[in-house]
Amino acid sequence: MSALLSVELAYWQSTPIRLIFALVAVLLPAGGAVYLYLFKMMSFMQSRLGPMEAGPYGSMQLLAEVGKWMQKEDIFPRKADKIVFALAPYVVLLSTFLLVLVVPFGPDAYFVDLDVGVFFALAVSSVSVIGILMAGWASANKYSLLGGLRAAGQLIAYELPMVLAVVGVVIQAGTLSMQGIVRAQAEGEIFGFGGLGNPYIITQFVGFAIFMIAVQAELSMTPFDMPIAESELVTGYLTEYSGMRFLLFFIGEFATANIFAFFASVLFLGGWTVPPFITDIFGIEYDDAIFNVLGPIVMLTKMLLVTFLVYWARFSYPRFREDQLQRFAWKILIPISLVNIFVTGVLKVVF
């Protein structure tokens, strides 16, 4: 971050700047994706227009909704465990903000470049389970409890295929650092042809598919939305939440969707880089300062492409049953990802 601003900053100076950037990196894409996909794409798929009144083409609708939620009464159920109930949305949001820290947006535009970035990301993504369990238990509502338990079971089951799918990428890149993986893709070549680099979506396509399925489940979006299954459990662990706390859960859900999409683009689509043949045309290097501006735009584009897949599935599929979902994770996804790791390892040694 200090390299990005090309001045030396003290810790207390750089921290607020980082905070502001983190807020922007979480909230801006979340708002954009909610408007583009949840409001507009969903409406067009369902032969309606969606919000049209607030701002041009309803683009200010989200602000209006946020205003509405902030005005609402903050209701605590009488039997609720008040402290846990109040804290739960913040725990979910915490995992979102921790996740965004390791995403690189450019050669210098990153919050931290951990050597174990991938490992860190996979670890903190599980923190949200605690928040959801807290919400489910503290609401003192049977639907919430069922939803919370379902969420816990589901998130634990799908954590594993996600980790195993990423392992293939890590083997191929030879590093756990996010920047390292981005560089490895940009500088890689497929059978001596380096014009496209080596985006791992080509060589690790199985891993990408498994990763996206696991992301869908981690986000509990249809077809994996049993925790909030509105026709069975009203809205699961969200049932008793209203006003600001519901808004926090909402932000957590959609911001996490975007950040997982950032991860998918870092791990499989080459991150903030563009294919080398384009840089060759314009005669720029990946280390040039211009990529600190281009990088975030490229990342946003790739993120929107990946989230499109997520929401497309969300609006078209019915949901699984709990046991079918577990069977799918343990009997299909995990064996395939293990085979994927094995094959990747063998090929890595051979080539």
Binding site: S231, V234, P318, R319, R321
Partner: protein, 390 residues
């Protein structure tokens, strides 16, 4: 002073009692879950008390009557033409179909017969009601299983049918169009051609939904083999309509009991399915929508001319006697048992609505299934609250 502390004391005792109840519940086998009266899946005010062991249902007990409106009793203080307004509200999605058996029973008592044109139009609206009703079922099924898109398509395409009903009768939902001895009005000009266009839209909708929902593997894995009703059990519980036909019983009152409706003039087919599971019920309803489109199209082509009203007195007095008429309505068999003592008002009207009997199999069917399947089974049984509680 004492009053406040008394109230506090009582609140404390009530709290303790509630805690004790919760503890008792946790210690006892299973957890009692009230699905409804206000729940997204009951689309109305049905309440099902479910005892759960984990997510498995130990026993389920539907509690009906939250929407009881007393139509049987109200009918006794209405004149005969006024009763149709009431019975319109029983199955509110296929309203016209509710009027038909009552009017037929009255006509039988009065020994009048509607002219052929009226019979034809009656049958057309009976089938249009079925299409409007079941189209919405097909979309709603998606919502119950978590797919949100089909229901919007269903609402969109049902509108074409409702527009046609409105164009002819003036009422989108509650036509109140049937009269003893005929109909209120003739069809407006150009209606037949427009209806054919609307039928094409519905056929297109069926094809879309077959691709979007029925062919989906998740949908199939959620519905196939879930909530299997064997034919004998279904018959014993008095299941009718598509629910029993999905269990392989070839029984359709439109064909087997034509009571003044010209179904025998039309070339059509009664669909059955051998499986009896939720998928069979959904599939069967979809085929019936397509079949209804065929029936309506043929009736539109062969509609005879002539008057739409038989000669009936201005003030309708039904002679003494009793009549029972059953027809095949969108939800199953609907029948009216009308007893007259020769006055302006019926002495007694017994209404047999299909959903009430269809719902009665729920405790048997829900035993031992998982919580998500409860919703699938309830959705595939297809009840309408007004039809359960009358």
């Amino acid at each position: 002073m004492t009053a406040i502390s008394d109230r506090r004391q009582m609140a404390y005792i009530a709290n303790q009692a509630a805690d004790a109840r919760v503890n008792l519940e946790l210690e006892a086998e299973g957890m009692t879950l009230n699905i409804g009266p206000q729940h997204p899946a009951t689309h109305g005010t049905l309440r099902i008390v479910v005892r759960l062991d984990g997510e498995q249902v130990i026993e389920a007990d539907p509690v009906m009557g939250y929407m009881h409106r007393g139509y049987e009793k109200l009918a006794e203080v209405r004149t005969y033409p006024q009763v149709t307004t009431l019975v319109n509200r029983i199955d509110w999605l296929g309203s016209f179909a509710n009027e038909v058996p009552f009017i037929l029973a009255c006509e039988r008592l009065m020994e009048v017969e509607a002219p052929p044109r009226a019979q034809w139009i009656r049958t057309i609206f009976h089938e249009l009601g079925r299409i409007a009703n079941v189209t919405l079922f097909l979309g709603d099924l998606g919502v119950q299983l978590g797919a949100i898109t089909p229901v919007f398509l269903a609402f969109r395409d049902r509108e074409y049918i409702l527009n046609q009903i409105e164009a002819a009768t003036g009422g989108r939902f509650h036509p109140n169009f049937d009269r003893i001895g005929g109909l209120k009005d003739d069809l407006p000009a150009g209606w037949i051609a427009e209806t054919k266009v609307a039928l094409d839209k519905i056929r297109e909708f069926c094809n879309t939904l077959e691709d979007l929902l029925m062919g989906n593997e998740i949908f199939q894995s959620r519905t196939r083999g879930v909530g299997v009703i064997p034919a004998d059990v279904g018959l014993a519980y008095g299941l009718t309509g598509a629910n029993i036909r999905a269990s392989g019983v070839d029984w359709d009152l439109r064909r087997d009991n034509p009571v003044g409706l010209p179904y025998d003039q039309v070339d059509w087919k009664v669909w059955t399915h051998p499986d009896g599971d939720s998928f069979a019920r959904c599939w069967l309803r979809m085929q019936e929508v397509r079949e209804s489109c065929n029936i309506v199209e043929q009736l539109l082509d062969t509609i005879p001319g002539g008057p739409i009203m038989a000669k009936v007195p201005r003030v309708i007095k039904v002679p003494e006697g009793e009549a029972y008429v059953a027809t095949e309505n969108p939800l199953g068999m609907m029948s009216y048992y009308v007893v007259s003592q020769g006055g302006l008002e019926p002495f007694r009207v017994k209404i047999r609505s299909a959903s009430f009997s269809n719902m009665s199999i729920a405790p048997w069917l829900l035993k031992g299934v998982y919580m998500p399947d409860v919703i699938t089974i309830l959705a595939s049984l297809y009840f309408i609250l007004g039809d359960i509680d009358r």
